[in-house]
């Protein structure tokens, strides 16, 4: 197989689709109708999926020419600048392959789904052009073999995310959300850019594999300490993967169309940070302090976001906070050194969270663009496919065996415990209970109990078109079977074997001692799995008890939400999202605004004042002095004569003194 041509083809196809659709999409849509403008962008993504699968299968199995270390493909020299050579080069190993599966599969299904979801929109061609641009960016990001190209992809996904969040730009809230996402991401990107510069300073190369090997071998003799480099890179990951305190943009990003939320803000782009840290695993393994920061921020985000998800009423926002929470899990896994578990959870989460979002889109579509769960309820009979697939995804994310979420989540928790991070494990179990509960709350409020749907809409509620339900069914398959397929046997499944060469470097550096085989007299794994499952079931049971499907205990819910004391504080904390938007408003809008106003005043009066003052003095001096410019030759001559007389006279006075 000519992989040298196939690999560059994967990002090239969506580039062509983007170029074609943005140039001709509008004309095609006006002349021939919607389908004409959708044919090319959807077609190229399906083609890219096919090509990606051809590449992925041998790459995962470490067959030639990929081998253990992966295959490097150089398209051309991108930046030939003396000693600095940056290639337009791609690197495909098992880690890239895992990301390729998630990105191209969900990307393709979301493209198909969007045909149905955007059927009532004016400018579908623009939407599909942006989606194609996003696919290009994400594929470049995961395929790149050098930091600069990763950064280019990194910024491009930010740009396409911005365009898609603000797709309905007539809505002020959407435009603001797009801006917020872009600006918050910039904060992280500055850190990432500095991290890349630090890597280059330390190693003199931008190639990912070379620079990582060099960073590790140089160890403490690096110019910039590895902990600093790792934290800078993690800063970028925090921005893109919306980890505390840069998480504030993701819930607002739900202003975008739902397929966008599914593709970008659940399944792919937000995983870029996880991918980045996993890719740089030898660097992080050499900087243990940075790893602890990663674990702490991850597990804290997981807990915080889960607690916020308890009280949100917008169906997409609940899912957004759930995404934050699950991403927190992944970072916790990276932090405790369970790199394959993080990638496992990335993949399974990509599928079931993508499914949840597409389901929520189907629900929103069914109830005519209503997103408030208080105005849903009792929908399960009317939209059975949506309900069925969403039920599968909910069980999957809750961590009930044998669905996908159980395997990946259990692996994270187990690894955390076995690697000596008991606190991460304990919070993780707590978050698992919370996850199961808030997910069932979402199910109950949406599908069960009495209908609170607007009476004028209620009779018209209907199941979505096949373009929308087909991706739902297709995504439900990996949500159920992915864990069993690649997660068995536990702790040494197919995925772990696939990814082993990628994370070998980190494993060797960390050199974890084997965990105790038994705990409380039973095999450790058995105990941990039992606790995970019990936690998930407990969460679900409480959720089912409160929110149906049998009966909704509305009075209990009301009592909890109107309780006093600590409960009241906790409720308000959750409802107001821990007041982070208010805190940012205070810090950056009010205080920051004051500082900016002062600086503006300083610039205007002091800096500009000095410059303008010099100008004014010179101009006034000129106005005064030009009066003596009469234009008459004889006046000038008189000046010369007087000057000469003065000079000669003074010379005489000095030199001609009688001695």
């Amino acid at each position: 197989m000519p992989y040298d041509t196939l690999i560059p083809l994967i990002p090239l196809l969506p580039i062509l689709g983007f170029a074609f659709t943005s140039l001709f999409g509008r004309r095609l849509q006006l002349r021939y109708g919607r389908w004409a403008s959708e044919l090319v962008p959807v077609g190229v993504v399906i083609a890219a999926w096919v090509v990606a699968m051809i590449v992925v299968v041998p790459a995962l199995q470490h067959q030639a020419p990929f081998g253990d270390s992966g295959l490097d493909v150089k398209a051309w020299t991108w930046i030939p600048a003396g000693g600095l050579q940056v290639d337009m080069g791609f690197h495909v190993d098992a880690l890239t392959a895992c990301l390729l599966i998630v990105v191209t599969t969900i990307g393709m299904l979301v493209h198909v789904y969007s045909i149905g979801y955007m059927a009532h929109d004016r400018a579908t061609w623009r939407f599909f052009a942006y989606l194609n641009l996003f696919m290009v960016s994400m594929l470049v990001l995961v395929l790149a073999n050098n930091w600069l190209l990763v950064f280019a992809g990194w910024e491009l996904v930010g740009l396409s995310s911005y365009s898609l969040i603000g797709f309905w730009y007539e809505r002020r809230s959407a435009a603001l959300a797009a801006k917020k996402a872009f600006i918050v991401n910039r904060v992280g990107d500055v850190g990432f850019a500095l991290g890349i510069m630090a890597i280059f300073l330390n190693t003199g190369t931008l190639n990912i594999q070379d620079s990582l090997a060099k960073l590790v071998s140089q160890g403490a003799s690096n110019t910039i300490p590895l902990t600093v480099v790792a934290l800078l890179v993690f800063c970028g990951a925090m921005g893109k993967s919306a980890q505390f305190p840069l998480h504030v943009w993701l819930p607002d990003a739900m202003e975008g169309p739902t397929p966008v939320s599914a593709l970008i803000h659940a399944a792919t782009m937000v995983n870029a940070g996880v991918y980045l840290v996993a890719r740089a695993n030898p660097l992080f393994a050499s900087a243990q302090d940075a790893m602890i920061v990663v674990a702490a921020i991850g597990i804290f985000t997981a807990f915080m976001a889960a607690s916020i998800a308890f009280t949100q009423t917008d169906i997409k926002r609940v899912l957004a906070f759930s995404t934050l929470s699950q991403l927190g899990y992944m970072f916790a896994a990276l932090g405790v050194g369970a790199f394959s578990a993080a990638i496992f959870h990335l993949m399974s989460h990509g599928f079931f969270k993508g499914l949840l979002f597409l389901d929520s889109g189907s629900v929103i579509h069914a109830v005519h663009d209503e997103q408030d769960m208080n105005r849903m309820g009792g929908l399960w009979r009317k939209i059975p496919i949506t309900h069925g697939t969403m039920l599968i995804a909910t069980i999957a994310i809750s961590g009930i065996p044998p669905l996908a979420g159980f395997f990946s989540k259990d692996e994270i928790l187990g690894e955390a415990f076995k690697n000596g991070f008991a606190w991460v494990w304990a919070i993780g179990v707590l978050v698992a209970i919370m996850t199961a509960f808030y997910m069932w709350r979402l199910m109950g409020k949406t599908f069960y109990g009495e209908s609170h749907v607007d009476p004028s809409v209620a009779p018209k509620v209907h199941e979505s078109a096949w373009q929308m339900t087909l991706p739902l069914v297709l995504l439900a398959i990996p949500s159920v079977f992915l864990g069993m397929a690649v997660g068995l046997p536990l702790g040494n499944g197919l995925l772990v074997q696939w990814l082993a060469p990628v994370f070998k470097g980190a494993e060797e550096i960390l050199a974890r001692p084997a965990a105790a085989e038994t705990l409380l007299g039973l095999p450790t794994d058995t105990v941990l799995i039992t606790i995970s499952v019990v936690a998930a079931v407990a969460g679900l049971v409480v959720g089912i008890g409160l929110f149906g499907p049998r009966r909704v205990r509305q009075e209990t819910i009301d009592r909890i939400s109107s309780a006093n004391g600590v409960m009241r504080f906790a409720y308000r904390l959750s409802l107001n999202k821990w007041w982070f938007d208010e805190l940012n408003d205070l810090l950056f809008i009010r205080i920051g605004g004051r500082v900016a106003a002062f600086l503006w005043w300083f610039d205007r009066t002091i800096v500009d004042g000095t410059v303008n003052g010099v100008g004014t003095v010179v101009r006034d001096a000129g106005t005064g002095l030009r009066q003596i410019q009469t234009g008459r030759v004889q006046n000038y001559a008189l000046g010369i004569a007087i000057g000469l007389i003065l000079m000669a006279g003074s010379l005489l006075l000095i030199v001609g003194q009688p001695r």
């Binding site: 410019q629 009469t630 234009g631 008459r632 004889q634 001559a637 008189l638 004569a641």
Partner: protein, 114 residues
């Protein structure tokens, strides 16, 4: 021959006073006359006053040294040559301005004002 020489003052100061008077007349004329031609003539007067000073110094201070005396005369000749050239250019300029402005009076030439 001797009687002719005797008519000439043997006093250096007399020449220098004459030179000073001539230079002052020239300077006054240059500053006070409005006619461009008269100003050119005044310049010639000043130049010749300087020439006279050179020659006088040459004759009186360096009379013992023929070479130095000759140098003074040569400087005077160079000044004459420069004066002739200056007069030529000056007259050409004056004529050109006259054709343009239809007046020889320099206080009318105030195009360079401000």
């Amino acid at each position: 021959m001797l009687s002719a020489l005797n008519l000439i003052s043997q006093n250096l100061n007399a020449y220098l006073v004459l030179s000073g008077i001539l230079f002052s007349i020239g300077a006054f004329g240059f500053l006070a006359r409005r006619n461009a031609i008269s100003m050119l003539m005044s310049i010639e007067l000043m130049l010749n006053a300087v020439n006279l000073a050179f020659i006088a110094f040459g004759a009186f201070l360096y009379s013992s040294n023929a070479r130095h005396a000759a140098e003074a005369s040569v400087i005077a000749l160079i000044v004459m040559a420069a004066a002739a050239a200056e007069a030529t250019v000056g007259l050409a300029i004056v004529i050109a301005i006259y054709r343009n402005r239809k007046t020889p009076l320099v206080d009318e030439y105030d195009a360079m004002r401000q």
